[in-house]
């Protein structure tokens, strides 16, 4: 119970209020839209890869504070990283949010550990992981897709999270 009290920490509230990398990219090489049908929240993630490095990344959408702060901190954490390193971080974040990551063992979570408490709130786990699922979908997307239709492979639903 005490963990989730810590969930709405200053850093999360700050990223919610002043999200980093918020907006769109003019020339994104990868793009995806994530949707949480439980609450109607949606965010889009766009990025451009320079060789294997994430040169630019941006997100925007309508969501709760947990989702928006998670997206904001995600973009800050992976900007300038290689795609492979970002994929490792996606994996670690999903494990942390679902209570499967030991924060004591070596990891790359860093400041993202403020989201550790979400694993005690099953209904909110999806809020925290939606941006990361969307990033994963963006990596596997083709360039310059624009549709947000459910059937489109660019569109990730969090149903199977």
């Amino acid at each position: 119970m005490s963990n989730y009290k810590a969930l709405y920490q200053e850093v999360i509230l700050d990223h919610n209020k002043k999200p980093r990398n918020y907006g769109t990219l003019a020339h994104a090489s990868h793009h995806a839209v994530g949707h949480n049908p439980l609450c109607g929240d949606h965010i889009s993630v766009a990025l451009s890869l320079d060789r294997d490095c994430i040169a630019c990344i941006a997100f925007q959408g309508e969501s709760c504070a947990i989702c928006k702060a998670s997206a904001s901190m995600m973009t800050a954490a992976i900007k300038g990283k290689s795609r492979a390193d970002a994929e490792i971080l996606i994996h670690e974040f999903l494990a942390m949010a679902t209570g499967k990551l030991h924060l004591d063992s070596p990891n790359n979570i860093g400041r993202l550990a403020v989201f550790a408490g979400v694993c005690d709130l099953p209904t909110r786990v999806k809020c925290a992981i939606l941006p990361w699922h969307t990033l994963h979908a963006a990596f596997n997307s083709v360039a310059s897709a624009s549709t947000e239709a459910e059937a489109d492979p660019m569109h990730v639903s969090i149903d199977n999270a």
Partner: protein, 419 residues
């Protein structure tokens, strides 16, 4: 605000002793993370008094067997109690006849029964079904499935900014192809009480039957199906202090007789050969298989409990809670109530500027306060008000003025966190 609080308390103290009622509900003694539970999610499901819990225990410990089958003592007892429960529900809604009360698994099941048993036989391609913007998904989706199957059309009654149905527009929707009306009695998302009696009279003048979704109404208003003159009335046990898995479809006998069964199986037949099956009479024709016997008997005990308090007294107390909460929240900067119908049940959907409903829900939970957040299975209502979701506090007769104060204080805490 204090003066309102005291005035209301002193006003209702003689007629309605909320503390005595609260003592009947063991779950209300719970503490959530050391804070007393403030349960304001009654529109989703209400809590169960000890009297109903005891009835379920008595049934399972000394009366249980399958019904309508064997000649032994327990089967006869269970059958008699199940039939008694049906009569209690008949009285609760003032149905003319016992056989007009069909036990279902809930409101959704009841509406699906009407869709399959009536709609699929009497609604043809090009026919029109009138629904309203305020409908719960359970009174939209079955009719969409039917429309897809038969080629019938769905027409929708709009609402105004207060969340009230536009009755002029409703009346304009009628034409020679109108075959059915489905209307929610009390909106689960906004609390609006719809003028169903007037709407039914208009539909009947055009020879059109009406189904009323009473899931939200039955716990809060005195329902009289003869006064309403509705053709079908559907509601759920778990919103009435009863168990889950049980609900009621009231239907006029003449219509139930015309309908085809939706589920086939044991109990719903008079005789079966491989050449021909003869269906049982109503209501048994619609109750295939072993019904939720315990749940039906529990629901019978629940309506006994509600009737002993009195639905009028319940409605009066809930209106006081609604008025007090509405006044408090109207004075909070940054808080907006969605749904301001003149005639409202004790449901308050609200938005807090700059705070997503899910964050509100989690932070209120931290204070021990249970509210619903989301689209309330009424996405067309959310679309009408251009919001993805709201927070919803819904009050029952066992809620107190102090719990309204706790909600208001909780919302202030949320605003402070997000300041």
């Amino acid at each position: 605000m204090n003066s309102v609080h005291i005035a209301l308390n002193s006003n209702s103290a003689s007629a309605f002793d909320v503390e005595r009622i609260r003592a009947d509900f063991p779950i209300l003694q719970l503490r959530i993370d050391r804070k007393p539970l403030v349960y304001l999610d009654n529109a989703a499901s209400s809590q169960m008094p000890q009297q109903v819990i005891d009835r379920l225990v008595r049934y399972q410990t000394s009366e249980h067997a399958n019904i309508n089958r064997a000649v032994h003592y327990l089967s006869e007892t269970a059958t008699a109690e199940y039939d008694t429960a049906r009569r209690k529900l008949q009285r609760f809604i003032n149905a003319p006849e016992e056989r007009e009360v069909v036990f279902t698994s809930g409101t959704t099941d009841a509406i699906n029964l009407v869709m399959h048993g009536y709609g699929r036989w009497f609604i043809k391609p090009g026919d029109e079904i009138i629904l309203t913007t305020l409908e719960h998904h359970s009174n939209i989706v079955p009719w969409q499935m039917l429309a897809e199957e038969t080629g019938a059309k769905i027409r929708v009654v709009p609402i105004n900014d207060a969340g009230e149905l536009l009755i002029d527009e409703y009346e304009k929707l009628f034409n020679a192809r109108t075959r059915f009306v489905g209307v929610i009695h009390v909106s689960n998302a906004l609390g609006s009480i719809n003028p169903v009696k007037q709407m039914i009279a208009f539909a009947h003048a055009h020879g059109v039957p009406v189904l009323v979704d009473g899931a939200q109404a039955a716990a809060h208003l005195q329902v009289d199906v003869q006064d309403l003159d509705c053709d079908f009335y559907a509601f759920s046990g778990h919103k009435l202090c009863g168990p889950t898995g049980i609900g009621v479809l009231y239907g006029k006998a003449a219509l139930l007789e015309k309908m085809q069964p939706f589920k086939g199986g044991g109990d719903m037949i008079l005789s079966v050969t491989f050449e021909k099956t003869t269906y049982n009479t109503i209501p048994y024709k619609f109750e295939a298989g072993t019904p939720p016997i315990a749940a039906a008997i529990g629901l019978g005990a629940a309506v006994d409990y509600l009737s002993a308090i009195g639905m009028d007294a319940i409605a009066t107390h809930e209106l006081e809670l609604l008025n007090y909460a509405t006044e408090q929240m109207n004075h909070m900067p940054g808080v907006r109530i969605v749904g301001t119908a003149k005639n409202k049940a004790s449901v308050i959907s609200f938005i807090v500027d700059g705070v997503h409903p899910h964050d509100i829900g989690t932070l209120l939970n931290q204070e021990g306060i249970a509210v619903r957040t989301g689209h309330h299975c009424a996405q067309p209502v959310m679309q009408r008000f251009k919001v993805p979701a709201t927070s919803r506090a819904s009050f029952a007769f066992y809620n107190s003025m102090a719990e309204v104060d706790a909600l208001v204080a909780g919302i202030r805490t949320v605003q402070k966190v997000f300041a």
